[in-house]
Amino acid sequence: MTISGRAFPLSRRAALAGAACLALPPPVHAADWTFDAYARAMQASGRATDLTAQTFAAMRQRRGHALQQLETWLRGELGTADPTVMRAIAALPREYFHYDYAAGRSFARDAYDWYPRAWPIGHGSTLSALNVQAYMTQLVQPRPHETALEIGTGSGYQAALLSRLARKTCTIEIIAPLGAAVGRIFGPLGLDNVETQVGDGYDGWPQERDGFDIIVVTCAAQAVPPPLLRQLRPGSGRLVIPVGPPLRTEQFLYLFTRDADGRVRSRRDIGVWFVPMTGRIAGG
């Protein structure tokens, strides 16, 4: 199986990882995510919502279809939909992350609209399209024993998704009002393996002495901050940077890996959104 012509070693390792993933603690309300549970979680996280039981039910009804569409899309575009990633996505109520922190307004009712799209969440930050987040997560292949670091918490969805797949996820948000608000949303979902911080991502998370297997960076600089690369575990570490203006679905992903000898390599991943409209795919 290939993605954009590149070998994508998913099958056996992913299956094992998927099985192991089941051992991770599910979110508290995942099993019975009702309107009341949603309303309680929103209240506990200090956010308002105007969703009613009826609109909640209507929105949740679209969820199954949206996930099915996502799976079909991933299969169609990538050749496969990583079952571990799909399970993790299914375990997370995406509507919980649909919140504009500048306006203080939930837009949960749009959570399962297809086609997936990016959403402004205030303070210059966005909730990326679900298919982009699914793709990026498949790209870095988190495993249950691994640790992940996210620079740029944003909506919190990516950190929550990584937390369903990795042992521990740390996330840093640079924008103070956004970071403070989003830092409160993981607890009510029972995502107790997510650690949050408001501050500078340049220095990474030095408290994690063993480094990270996965680092996801929202980065505008010309170079990956050296401290982050130092915190990338040699031999197995993967660091991914989405590049491109916010709110576009067609972003580039740069994947950096650190060899055992400390040498860093990079690969620009052009993603599935760059399939040619006409003409040819060279190489292959």
Binding site: S4, G5, R6, A102, Y115, R117, A118, P120, G122, H123, G124, I174, I175, A176, P177, V198, G199, D200, Y202, A220, A221, Q222, A223, V224, P226, P227, L229, R230, V243, G244, P245, P246, L247, R248, T249, E250, F252, Y254, F256, G262, R263, V264, R265, S266, R267, R268, I270, F274, V275, P276, M277, T278, G279, R280, I281, A282, G283, G284
Partner: protein, 875 residues
């Protein structure tokens, strides 16, 4: 066949021209027009500044389009509703200024409230909402520009007997309005410029109340008895003073207004408007701009602010601000690769540079930087830096062993920061081996006087700071830099490939042409190209690279995990790629991994003069000084594919697409305006031949004037290395001196064909002189003091502008009398075609070059002289 457009009475065409209005068009009566024109152009420029800051500068073009809708609509309204308008002319002239104040303030406030997000416009799922926001902009600004156009049209109709003088005040007001608002920008935050622009409107309103229009005054004194109808039509051999006025138009039975209330109303409107725009101004910087994040981290502070026409400069101090440099990701290349803390300098919300926090900088990090290689290949005794990155690059060059460093820093704020410091950021400590020069990047001869140089290093942020800086990457300028290298010297050129590789490919071809232009027979022997994941550096040597240098290139890249793209003798199969880079075009995707690097294939093809293997979709024509567009790679013939891939279009290319959108709208509106008389159900008529001639005449003037103006702005921008200054200077000069030309045109009123012929002869002659000698003059004076350069630009533009101002006034003067309704129509046609010409000129320049503009201007003015719509005497 007749075309309607004037007031009619039975079989006779009648005019509504008062008998003695030429004499009554005194300066004090025309002053309100002057002030309204002044405020209107200021408002338009202030809006472009608002869009540049709140959104991005590309969207400033849209203001032109929004302006036009209101102006064109007013011309149509004035043309169609001439009789009722003139009936209430006095009242309208008194009431419009306070209405303009309110429309300006409310329109501004509404504009700032619109939640327009340009990024969503490029998203296939989100764009629809943004169309609604754009519609809101049009709605918000329509009333102001409609009233402006209506007011000017009204003046033209009321004072049609002295059209040259009226047009002179209109133009001079607009010209000085540009100067006024640019001056305001030095002291007022761009979001509050509107507060200052309301003042001229208020003065206009008060003046109108003290010096009511002659029409209104006459009506007040003696009802309609002094107003007579001109039965003579527009006798071409008869001046206004000789008009034969008979009859009296019942349309002018107006009631007598009292004008005292006008002044009170104006003051009340001003107070309300100032309160609104000063105390409830919700304008803010787009949250997706680079400044937003750093501005909103804990303890972030704005430690210095500078306002200027060129931008709103803000210096930030917070924990995110560091020098931003492309570094090796490998550990151990240098003992400490940590980039130094800095202040962040932003212009209009875009990051401009890092400024050092102290006068000394430990540049130990520089050995791991992509930019460091040229300093290792050549002994850098004399270094030329284009852009100092706030001073960091001077420290780096000196740290790398430079003996003498010459810095070209065209941006005034950055240069002052280097020389005098900015807020808490210290000045670069004066050193005898460092000279900081106020020169533009294209002033090759002046720069060469300080050479030859061992290293010429173009800063990465230098080429992103302004388009006049980017002109450094044109073929002629690069060839000039190559010529000013010492025999062993090296020129280092940066290109970003972070999103798209096409700009690097375009630059490969540009450098090949530059080498050829500087006399190098085999460019491949003089080039080294290498890259990181996100940036390419092209090194150009004056002499072929020696083997030792090439070994240093390989070692440098290998130690830092950078990838060589080209060097003489490179074996692509033997190169280990550290940063895989599939290239992306709009119609093809290169997805090979681990095989030969696509950039290598591109470089090889480009240096061999072969077609691009992966970027054939794009226009890769090298930029030249006549077509200095380093970006502009989108092939407009493939517009369908481009729009289908709109999400991929980088911001650098958006200006082209916005130009197309504005042009399409402008053409539609211009056609509507031009053809308006065909659908007028009743009224005065113009013979078909004269109608067509008038259409061609005023369209030609609108297109031609702007073509020449844009050409001069472009030349002045590179000369003064400041586009905003060039824009303001050329615009003001041309408008003011055109106003003088318009005033002078009154002398030719009895001989309009002669006057137009004379003016066009001067226009053509001066243009030919510019074509022959302008570049030489500008090059010769490139290093002269700024104030002298400003005078030179004025001297170059003024004579031409005087001539440009005459045909419009003489043309408009043909539409007094029975053809009065054609006067606002002619003005609207001219205005509409002016708006067409702005995006059209930009697109033509990008496709062909700026040289096409004066040539097209000459042809248009030839058309003008052939189509002057001289009225025949009525029998």
């Amino acid at each position: 066949m007749g075309y309607s457009g004037g007031a009619s009475s039975g079989q006779e065409w009648v005019s509504l021209v008062p008998i003695d209005l030429a004499a009554r068009a005194t300066p004090v009566r025309l002053l309100p027009l002057f002030l309204v024109s002044m405020a209107a152009i200021g408002y338009e420029i202030a809006l472009t500044r608002f869009f540049a800051i709140a959104s991005w500068s590309e969207y400033g073009y849209w203001v032109i389009s929004m302006t036009m809708v209101g102006l064109a609509a007013s011309g149509i309204a004035a043309s169609l509703l001439q009789r009722p308008i003139l009936r209430h002319a006095g009242r309208l002239l008194a009431v419009i200024p306070p209405l303009l104040i309110l429309a300006a303030a409310l329109g501004w406030t509404w504009t700032t409230l619109v939640p327009f997000n340009p990024l969503e416009l490029q998203n296939r799922q989100l764009w629809a909402d943004q169309l609604g926001n754009i519609a809101q902009y049009y709605a918000a600004l329509f009333p102001f520009f409609f009233l402006v156009g209506f007011y000017i049209s009204l003046y033209f109709m009321v004072h049609s007997a002295a059209i040259g003088r009226v047009y002179a005040f209109d133009l001079a007001g607009a010209g000085l309005g540009a100067v006024f608002v640019l001056g305001l920008m030095f002291v007022v935050h761009p979001f509050f410029l509107i507060a200052g622009l309301l003042l001229p409107l208020a003065v206009a309103g008060v003046l109108a109340s003290f010096f009511p229009s002659p029409l209104a005054g006459k009506v007040a004194e003696n009802d309609i008895s002094t107003l007579r109808v001109d039965m003579s039509g527009m006798g071409s051999a008869r001046g206004a003073d000789n008009e034969d006025h008979v009859g009296s138009p019942p349309a002018l039975r107006a009631t007598s207004p009292r004008f005292a209330w006008g002044g009170i109303g104006t003051i009340a409107a001003l107070v309300a408007a100032e309160v609104l725009v000063c105390l409830f101004n919700p304008a803010r910087i787009n949250e997706y701009k680079e400044i937003y994040g750093p501005l909103n981290v804990p303890d972030s502070r704005v430690v210095a602010t500078r306002v200027s026409p060129k931008g709103l400069y803000e210096l930030l101090d917070n924990f995110t601000e560091r020098l931003d440099l492309d570094m090796s990701n490998n550990s151990g290349v240098v003992p400490d690769p940590t980039l130094p803390r800095a202040y962040g300098l932003y212009a209009d919300g875009n990051r401009l540079a890092s400024l050092p926090r102290s006068t000394t900088v430990d540049t130990g990090y520089f050995g791991a930087a992509l930019d460091a290689l040229p300093y290792r290949l050549r002994r850098p005794d004399k270094v030329l830096l284009l852009g100092a990155s706030g001073g960091f690059r001077i420290h780096e060059a000196l740290g790398a062993g430079a003996g003498h460093v010459t810095v070209i820093e065209p941006d005034r704020t950055l240069r002052h920061a280097l020389l005098d410091g900015l807020g808490p950021a210290p000045a670069f400590p004066p050193q005898p081996q460092v000279s900081i020069r106020d020169l533009g990047a294209t002033a090759v001869d002046a720069i060469a006087a300080g050479g030859p140089f061992d290293v010429i290093d173009i800063g990465r942020d230098f080429v992103t700071q302004s388009d006049t800086n980017r002109a450094a990457l044109s073929v002629e300028v690069l060839a000039g830099y190559i010529r000013m290298l010492s025999p062993q010297g090296v020129l280092s050129i940066p290109v970003s490939i972070r999103e798209f590789t096409v700009y690097a490919v375009k630059m490969f071809g540009t450098v090949r042409h530059a080498l050829a232009a500087s006399g190098v027979a085999d460019p491949a022997q003089h080039l080294v190209i290498y890259r990181s994941a996100w940036n390419v550096r092209i090194l150009v040597a004056r002499s072929p690279w020696p083997a030792a240098a090439l070994q240093e290139v390989r070692d440098f890249c290998d130690a830092r995990s950078f990838d060589p793209v080209h060097y003489p003798g490179i074996d692509p199969a033997g190169v280990r790629i550290f940063n895989e880079l599939p290239v992306v075009s709009f119609d093809t995707v290169e997805t090979r991994a681990g095989a030969q690097d696509a950039m290598m294939a591109e470089a090889a093809a480009s240096l061999a003069g072969a077609p691009s293997p992966y970027h054939a979709f794009f226009r890769l024509t090298p930029p030249t000084l006549d077509r200095p567009f380093v970006n502009a790679v989108l092939p407009l013939a493939q517009l369908g594919t481009i729009l289908a891939r709109i999400e991929l279009v980088p911001r650098e290319e958006l200006g082209t697409l916005i130009n197309i959108a504005v042009l399409a709208q402008a053409v539609v509106i211009a056609l509507l305006v031009m053809l308006l008389p065909l659908v007028r159900p009743s009224g005065g008529a113009l013979p078909a031949g004269q109608f067509l001639r008038a259409m061609a005449y005023f369209a030609g003037l609108g297109l031609g004037f702007l073509f020449l103006e844009i050409y001069l702005i472009e030349k002045a921008a590179l000369y003064l290395h400041d586009r905003v200054l060039a824009f303001g200077l050329v615009l003001a000069t041309m408008l003011v001196f055109s106003g003088i030309g318009s005033w002078l045109a009154e002398r030719f009123r009895s001989r309009p064909s002669y006057g137009v012929g004379l003016a066009v002869a001067v226009v053509i002659g001066w243009n030919l002189l510019l074509l022959v000698g302008l570049d030489a003059v500008l090059a010769l004076t490139a290093a002269w003091p700024g104030w002298l350069q400003i005078l030179i630009v004025i001297a170059l533009a003024a004579p031409l502008s005087v001539a440009l101002g005459m045909p419009m006034a003489l043309g408009l003067s043909q539409f007094a009398g029975k053809r009065l309704a054609f006067l606002p129509w002619a003005w609207a046609v001219n205005g509409a075609c002016s708006i067409v010409s702005t995006p059209l000129a930009n697109l033509l320049a990008a496709a062909i070059g700026f040289m096409v503009l004066p040539l097209a201007g000459i042809m248009l003015y030839v058309m003008v002289v052939l189509t002057i719509p001289v009225a025949r005497p009525t029998r």
